[in-house]
Subunit: 322 residues, 2 copies
Amino acid sequence: MALLGIDLGGTKLALAVFTEEGNMLSKEVIALGNRKGNEVGELIIEQISVVLHSHESNEKKINAVGISVPGISHPGTGTVWAPNIPGWDNYPLLQEVKPVTGTLPVTIDSDRACYILGEVWQGNARGCRNAIFLAVGTGIGAGILVNGEVLRGSNDIAGAIGWMALNRPFNDEYIRCGCFEHHASGEGIAKMAGMMLRENKTYTGDLKNKPAEQINSYDVFSAYEKGDPLASGLIRQCIEFWGMAVANLISLFNPEKIIMGGGVFGPAVKLIKEIRQEAAKWAQPVSINQVSIDASGLEGNAGVYGAGFLALKALSGLNHTY
Amino acid sequence: MALLGIDLGGTKLALAVFTEEGNMLSKEVIALGNRKGNEVGELIIEQISVVLHSHESNEKKINAVGISVPGISHPGTGTVWAPNIPGWDNYPLLQEVKPVTGTLPVTIDSDRACYILGEVWQGNARGCRNAIFLAVGTGIGAGILVNGEVLRGSNDIAGAIGWMALNRPFNDEYIRCGCFEHHASGEGIAKMAGMMLRENKTYTGDLKNKPAEQINSYDVFSAYEKGDPLASGLIRQCIEFWGMAVANLISLFNPEKIIMGGGVFGPAVKLIKEIRQEAAKWAQPVSINQVSIDASGLEGNAGVYGAGFLALKALSGLNHTY
């Protein structure tokens, strides 16, 4: 018996085969290239088919499939919304894959749900029933586990923490992506650095080596590590925002664990101690002492592990199956 | 068959008998006076005993008891923490009432949990499975229903929204009760008004009729309704904080309904439209259009209705029973 976990990102598709104990037997990553709409669906179908056939005459036959999508999954209809894949506004992913998966259970969930499920299964949230994955990448989202189940809300869009209000008064810049994401996402850091560079004519540090509009968050972290004053100010402000957001999750959810992950953590993982100090100023004082704040334990594989766990849960009858 | 719902507050005890359909048959309210510690426990026991006996030879015999406490309930141990009742740090309430309730199921929960349960049973959240009661009184708390169950967290202290970080930078005034509660609770409004009065020597409006330290939030609302400029500025700031907090609940939980209740809503209930407008600026734009924001439908009785519903849930096997 084996499980197929599929993690669709904005630029690539990862497929991994797991044992039911959570050992990864194989993993493949394929760039999406310029594919859009149906072409992405066709790539997924084709790759599922390849994996299923290669395991057909094998003792590790695939028994269930889980799929993580970079957006929102609606289990009621089997459709998904993925803003970074052109044409995936209300995409009938489940219906598309059914002909190739046949009678196998297929479960689809959002990337943020899969991140926390991956950590619960094989990462740094093992054993937790109330845990949150705060995913800080290009954007910001949260996968929230409440009493062992993913928080979905009334229409499957819970966890939209990039929209968290943390800084008054309201600024029109928040309209596009939300206050927290504007200030403390990978894209937010890059934009803010570009803006500061354009405003600060006397600055001569490392960030001047690139045109302001090409600066990304990795450049900012790299300058920060060298003590660059502009980068330091910006990262200190991010620590404040990340700390406030973590505090708000702690006060509202009283979780056992918060996992900081996504592309930015990564380089920001060294800042977790400072983020905790900031959070401790704001959070409910009993709850903050009951939570541990950790980095992801899955090195960028949280999504594909979570997809594998979706497959396992479907087999165990623990979740929506199709 | 009938249900006994008990709502313990910081200053009074309410007991109500309900039919299983949620009709309130009787209600009694008793002031706590100077009672503390065991004396409050004894009052509860004595009053339960009175109600049970008066229904003994009645077709409306009591079949289950629910108790709302002004603090935190730990279902695992039957103990409660109620900061406004001296000596109730870790009070063995369940053990105390058991001798008088005998074999009847008794369920204890926090006031904020009872508020949302009351609204779901008989108030403005009927039929909802994802709904939140934002209780703004002397302090601020949230009763949060996720998929039909009260959100408890890992140690029963979820919903501590008074600690929500909404205003940077951190201010030492937030240490005692949290940022949101400091700015926008009944006590916060009163303190803020007092401070503004002491600072503003030229002000001659309505709030001057009382010594600054005696101003309460009702005085501020009453001055606001007459167009008092100091009160108007303060209430406008509260609308901003309430709107941001409501937005954060919407973005994180994607609920069907938010109920604004507690002593302050009350007079602030006319402001719900403005609070929604403020929230709409900040919240996840799809979620805000899926939520309705309403006043409590139970006129200050949400706690006692919620306690009645705890009793009903125990009978239906839907919740922790003892």
